[in-house]
């Protein structure tokens, strides 16, 4: 048994040595400028909305809706995934990436029907995000009540 385990460990080392690593510096620079740009656009939209007399929170909410719309439109037009290939986390982490994670399975699974295809698969990635985000917010709310 030990012999097999040794062989496996030795092989894992070999694999580590042979497998090419991602270029972290290059990837980070790309994620930084694309992600930063999406946020700056978000700021611009927020400011424009605010200039119509909305409060800061309202403007931020409307900006979110617009960004979600843009993320979904770019996904439908087959553009978002190409930006994502370049930018990595730069397009995954902003709210547009959340929108992309909902619309991409919705489109992919429409052949399986609108109920179990589009309706169910839409939450393939967004579902867990909403589940754990909501649970955390409830816990934070309860703790806040007691302290």
């Amino acid at each position: 048994m030990d012999k097999i385990q040794n062989m496996k460990n030795e092989y894992q080392q070999m694999v580590k040595k042979t497998s090419p690593n991602s270029n972290l510096l290059r990837d980070s620079v790309r994620a930084f400028w694309v992600g930063g740009t999406i946020c700056a656009i978000g700021q611009l939209i927020t400011n424009i909305v605010k200039s119509f007399g909305y409060s800061k929170d309202e403007a931020s909410m409307i900006a979110t809706i617009i960004l979600v719309f843009l993320g979904i439109l770019l996904t439908g037009l087959d553009i978002y995934d190409s930006i994502g290939k370049y930018a990595g986390a730069g397009t995954i982490v902003p709210i547009t990436g959340f929108a992309n994670s909902m619309v991409s399975p919705a489109i992919e699974y429409k052949k399986e029907g609108y109920v179990f295809g589009v309706g169910a698969r839409m939450f393939l990635i967004a579902g867990p995000v909403i589940v754990y985000g909501t649970i955390t917010s409830v816990i934070v709310g309860i703790i806040h009540y007691f302290i």
């Binding site: 690593n21 991602s22 972290l24 990837d27 980070s28 994620a31 930084f32 992600g35 930063g36 999406i38 946020c39 700056a40 939209i45 927020t46 400011n47 909410m61 409307i62 900006a63 979110t64 960004l67 979600v68 719309f69 979904i72 439109l73 996904t75 439908g76 087959d78 930018a87 990595g88 986390a89 730069g90 995954i92 982490v93 902003p94 709210i95 990436g97 959340f98 929108a99 994670s101 619309v103 919705a106 489109i107 589009v118 839409m122 990635i125 967004a126 995000v129 909403i130 754990y132 985000g133 909501t134 955390t136 917010s137 409830v138 816990i139 934070v140 709310g141 703790i143 806040h144 009540y145």
Partner: protein
């Protein structure tokens, strides 16, 4: 200046995500979950509000901002109506974003088809 701060803060959060992707082989879904939870927890202990004050959209547009909105909503509602607010506040505050995503994603599924890659 406001735009530069949004750019830098948003970009920095994305770099953290990129490091997680490259170094840990985490799938994007897990990173999104981690970031939402992180944003909510940081707001719970009072650390995310200052980041939002400084970075504006740079802090609210990335996914931790979504967690921040959930937690902020829950806390505000608790202060308004008591304990039951913990159950309503989070989703109430983020309803616009979630509803928009559901609606637009559905409409997109009516219009668009997935394209092969090369």
């Amino acid at each position: 200046m406001e735009y530069v701060r949004a750019f830098v803060v948003g970009g920095a959060i994305c770099i953290i995500g990129q490091i997680l992707i490259d170094k840990t082989n985490l799938m994007s879904g897990r990173i999104l979950v981690m970031f939402v939870v992180l944003g909510a927890v940081l707001h719970g202990i009072g650390l995310y509000e200052p980041i939002v004050e400084f970075g504006g959209a740079g802090a609210t547009v990335p996914l931790p901002g979504f967690g921040y909105s959930l937690a902020k909503g829950a806390i505000q509602e608790v202060e308004k109506v008591g304990l039951r607010g913990a159950f309503t506040g989070g989703l109430k505050a983020t309803a616009a974003g979630i509803t928009a995503a559901i609606l637009f994603a559905f409409i997109a599924s009516l219009i668009f088809n997935p394209k092969a890659k090369d």
